[in-house]
């Protein structure tokens, strides 16, 4: 499973990540080892859609969006594996911890590591840092329905739908 590490710039990222504005919450992937790990960052700025409302006079990044940003970094580690690019990913279970506010002007550095990836089910952990200090953490289980559904017993109902929702 050991593969060479590489980086993704802003156009290459769009090839692998299916999320788009206003829900693409990572900017740059500085180092990714497909199927194992991904490192990168998101820039925070005042020109983002939640700034006027969360909160007026005290803008900071909503926790749910920090979870989303970290989950997107985790999916990059999977979607760069052969045959996986651009696939839809669903969140299955997230556990987040938030240590400090993430504010406009900050750069949120994220490090995602995959603990296991079998039958379309991926477990991983992600850490977010600001200026080297831990800002947020995520333990996550995510599903790639395209792969997951191939392993479901025949006749099982409630198939995980694909492509209709963005993952959360």
């Amino acid at each position: 499973m050991q593969r060479e590490a590489f980086s993704l710039n802003e156009t290459e990222l769009l090839k692998y990540q299916p999320n788009r504005y206003p829900f693409l919450l990572i900017d740059r992937v500085t180092e990714v080892v497909p199927g194992r790990s991904a490192k990168g960052y998101k820039n925070l700025t005042n020109n983002e859609w939640w700034i006027p409302v969360h909160f007026p006079g005290d803008p900071n990044m909503p926790g749910c969006l920090q979870v989303e940003a970290m989950a997107q970094m985790l999916t990059v580690a999977i979607l760069t594996a052969p045959g996986m690019e651009g696939k839809i990913v669903h969140g299955y279970k997230h556990a987040g911890t938030f240590h400090q506010e993430v504010r406009p002007g900050d750069r949120l550095d994220m490090e995602a590591e995959i603990l296991s990836f079998r039958r379309g089910l991926c477990k991983g952990i992600v850490k977010g840092f600001i200026d080297g200090a831990l800002a947020c953490e995520l333990e996550s289980v995510i599903i790639i329905p395209d792969v997951f559904n191939q392993f479901r017993p025949k006749g099982a109902d409630n198939k995980i739908r694909k492509g209709e929702n963005s993952h959360g």
Partner: protein
């Protein structure tokens, strides 16, 4: 000018000085502002901004007019930080020598240095330069007015604007004619 140097202004504090608001608010942090003299600050660019899906879909980069506006908003902090100008609105008068040297993409940080050359009668003149990773990315010379201040210096006759005519030369308005007197715009 008055010996005060402002440092590390965040979004809330910057908005006490200038009236630009989302989605037309293009500065994140003012690292240092010397009222009446200079300002230094930056803006982060991220995918989560409204112009990236449209400019361009397969090759996102920062439009030139956004770069102009970003440079300008840091420049505003050189004179809106003067106590008498705090929180006032501003108008563009002219932009000269706008140069765009580098493609700026999501994930970049644009560091901006702005200097005020003169501020008289509500008219600010100066220049601003932007850097990405320490390399020059864009630069600009500007004239910006503070209408609230400037209108105090416009000659009036009994509070009524006197009848005037534009002086037009080769299709361009170069001044106004008021009460038989020619007032030409500064070159």
């Amino acid at each position: 000018m008055n010996g005060i140097i402002l440092q590390n202004l965040d979004a809330y504090e910057i908005q006490q000085y200038q009236q630009n608001r989302y989605p037309c608010f293009f500065v994140d942090i003012i690292e240092e502002a010397v009222p009446g003299k200079s300002a230094r600050g930056y803006k982060n660019f991220t995918f989560n901004e409204w112009f990236f899906p449209a400019h361009f879909t397969d090759e996102p980069n920062v439009p030139g007019f956004i770069q102009i506006e970003t440079l300008t908003q840091v420049f505003l902090m050189t004179f809106l930080t003067l106590p008498e100008n705090k929180g006032k609105k501003t108008d563009f008068i002219s932009i000269k020598n706008a140069r765009f040297r580098k493609k700026i993409v999501p994930g970049n940080r644009l560091d901006i240095e702005a200097s005020l050359d003169s501020f008289r009668h509500g008219l600010a003149r100066g220049h601003a330069e932007g850097y990405v990773n320490g390399e020059p990315a864009c630069s600009l010379e500007l004239e910006v007015a503070v209408p609230d201040v400037m209108t105090k210096f416009i000659p009036r006759s009994g509070g009524v604007i006197p009848p005037y005519k534009f002086i037009v030369e080769s299709g361009l308005s170069v001044g106004v004619l008021v009460a038989g007197k020619e007032i030409r715009y500064a070159a």
